[in-house]
């Protein structure tokens, strides 16, 4: 049993060279168990995205590929860069490096409103409704520059039964869950191809969150692709068909929910694994290596409200590494050197 090295290093070398080089090679884990992803072309592709907030590097060479019909979930703790990633894809932040390709077209320099009319529509964190407008007017604004498609205001009223009766109310008077529904409706009437949901669960009661997520299948049935950001990992795992975990601007885990163990998710979420070969080189290896638990560098980050201490409990990192890629399959040629030389999780236990 060797280690899932390879990808990481290759990825590191490629990064920051030519555009050609940045293109993610067909990752082995896709061949294994993800043939349907590999065969279709990505609808939305983020290549090596780096975003700064002033001096702070919020995202560090993040890549992802979202395929049609997927529910792609990005999870991570506070400050991991999840929202920054979505906002950058939506065009609200300019990346310092990297590119965003949508439907084969480079969108990196395109203005946010053009991305929205092109089919990338975001439900922003905190709803961000037009508070002085009524429910219906909010939806009308969303529909003003809509693409052609199945969603109309009428359909949104059908999806959320209560909404029609209260369409003349100002959205400022609605409850949080109702506001979130209007925000989703406002995005849907634009007929997006990629619907980005930023922290739907934020500030909502769990039962409300579940009710909103219960709508997702109906939304997906109209042929949408969903890219969502969630702090609530269990919720994300329930709905996602593909998962990517961010930690302090780096990818720490990527794969299908069925292929990752809760332990892996937890470790990736909190950065419990140490191991940082070559410092700067390591961050993005996780992204391409399948499940790499990157350095994270977040020793101090505790897992509030989560019972993670026992999960790791002295378990050697090899046990995780031995799973190879996410599908448990990593071509032997990829496995030459250990990804995490000689690190033990116990040094990072929380």
């Amino acid at each position: 049993m060797s280690e899932p090295k390879g990808r990481g290093d290759a990825w590191t070398e490629e990064r920051g060279t030519s555009d050609e080089g940045r293109r993610r090679p067909e990752a082995p884990q896709r061949r294994a168990g993800q043939t349907e992803r590999a065969e279709s072309t990505a609808l939305l592709e983020v290549r090596d995205l780096t975003v700064h907030h002033g001096q702070l590097r919020a995202l560090d060479h993040i890549s992802l590929r979202v395929f049609p019909g997927e529910v792609y979930a990005i999870i991570g703790a506070n400050g991991a860069g999840k929202s920054t990633l979505l906002r950058t894809i939506a065009g609200l932040h300019q990346p310092t490096e990297g590119s965003i390709v949508y439907d084969g077209k480079d969108m990196t320099k395109v203005r946010p409103e053009r991305r929205a009319t092109g089919g990338i529509v975001m439900v922003p964190e905190g709803r961000r409704l037009f508070g002085s407008l009524t429910v219906e007017e909010n939806l009308q604004v969303g529909a003003t520059y809509a693409r052609k498609g199945p969603w109309t205001i009428e359909h949104v009223y059908e999806l959320f039964g209560w909404m029609r009766d209260r369409r003349t109310q100002r959205t400022a008077q609605l409850s949080g869950g109702e506001q979130q529904s209007v925000a989703i409706g406002r995005a849907l009437v634009a007929n997006p191809r990629v619907l980005m949901l930023d922290e739907l669960s934020l500030g909502l009661a769990p039962v409300v969150v579940q009710r909103i997520y219960a709508m997702l299948p109906q939304i997906l049935a109209t042929g949408l692709t969903v890219l969502l950001v969630e702090q609530d990992v269990s919720q994300a795992l329930r709905v996602a068909s593909h998962l990517q975990c961010l930690l302090e601007g780096h990818t720490t885990l990527e794969g299908r929910p069925s292929d990752v163990t809760p332990e892996q998710v937890e470790a990736a979420y909190f950065g419990l694994a140490t191991a940082a070969p070559g410092g700067a080189g390591s961050p993005s290896q996780g992204g391409s290596g399948g499940m790499g638990l990157s350095q994270g560098g977040s020793g101090g980050m505790g897992p509030p409200g989560r019972s993670s201490g026992g999960v790791w409990g002295g378990r050697p990192p090899e046990e995780i590494q031995s799973r190879g890629g996410l599908g448990g399959v990593v071509p032997p040629e990829e496995m030459e050197q250990p990804l995490w030389p000689g690190s033990t999780p116990s040094s990072r236990e929380s």
């Binding site: 409103e113 961000r128 037009f130 002085s132 407008l133 604004v141 003003t144 520059y145 995005a187």
Partner: protein, 291 residues
């Protein structure tokens, strides 16, 4: 009876002040731009009217047909260029930029036209005549006309903002321009439209003032901007009907002050202005979301 007359005159002149103020209020409500060049732009409207009448000989009351679209166009262009560029930097930059604009306009007028006073419609029967109610109350047709125009403009704006597609977009963008972008709305274009509307009302204000009184290059900041500010603050920032209330309160206060002592006219207006600032800083008509 003299007091009743003062109040009636004050209400009517309040219509003019409301016309001054509604563009200022709209620009602030939507773009958060405090347009310090507001008065000077009204004066430009007046000068354009003088020029248009001299060239085309259209009746002064119809000059708005040409002046308003011209000013609206100017508003859109200014918003999309200078004002937007300053907005992209910071809200405070817009103060500096519009102040600079004001200085440039004022001195440009002094330089390229002259410092003479101008007025519109001298000798026009409707503008100069009046009618009487009883023995002491005399109402000028012009002031009544201006008041009616102000009410019509505010009603029209209200209708436009609450019923039309662009009105809805303007309100949405005023609420949250980033969220509007996420809905595919180019807020800069919507800002441009709002500025065009504001400048259209500014043009009406300039023409109305030119008929009511005389204007020179400095009138914009001396009179119109100050009264507009006072009316907006008294009525409540960002509230359309507040500008009418503010204008009327300012006008009545001035007329009552003048009734007490001719030299107290302006003072009385500003005392009310300060009192509102101190006691009810949100204005008499609290902002109800732009409509």
């Amino acid at each position: 009876m003299a007091w009743v007359n003062a109040i009636i005159q004050g209400i009517l002149i309040g219509g003019l002040y409301a016309l001054f103020a509604c563009g200022l209020s709209l620009m602030f409500g939507v773009m958060k731009v405090v347009n310090l060049a507001h008065g000077d732009l009204a004066i430009i409207g007046g000068y354009i009217a003088v020029g248009v009448i001299a060239v085309t000989h259209i009746p002064v009351l119809w000059s708005f047909v040409i002046v308003v679209p011209l000013m609206a166009l100017l508003g859109y262009v200014l918003q999309r260029t200078v004002i937007q560029a300053s907005l992209d930097r910071s809200i405070l930059t817009t103060l500096l930029v519009t102040f600079g604009l004001s200085v440039v306009i004022e001195n440009g007028l002094l330089e390229f036209i002259n410092a003479d006073s101008h007025s519109l419609g001298v000798g026009n029967a409707i503008i100069t005549s009046s009618f009487s109610i009883g023995s002491q109350i005399t109402i000028a047709y012009l002031l009544l006309l201006i008041f009616v125009v102000a009410v019509v403009v505010l009603l029209g704006l209200q209708y436009f903002l609450s019923m039309s597609k662009y009105g809805r977009l303007i309100r949405a963008v005023a609420d949250d321009k980033e969220a509007a972008q996420l809905s595919g709305v180019d807020y800069r274009h919507v800002f441009g439209i709002a500025a065009a509307i504001a400048f259209g009302t500014v043009a009406l204000a300039g023409i109305a003032y030119g008929m009511y009184s005389q204007f020179s290059p400095t009138t914009g900041t001396d009179t119109i901007l100050l009264f507009a500010f006072a009316a907006v603050v008294i009525g409540g920032l960002g509230s359309l009907w507040g500008t009418l209330v503010g204008g009327v309160v300012l006008g009545v206060a001035q007329q009552i002050g003048a009734q007490i002592n001719q030299s107290d006219q302006l003072l009385a207006g500003y005392i009310v202005f300060l009192a509102v600032l101190a006691l009810r800083p949100q204005g008499l008509v609290a902002r109800r979301a732009q409509s």
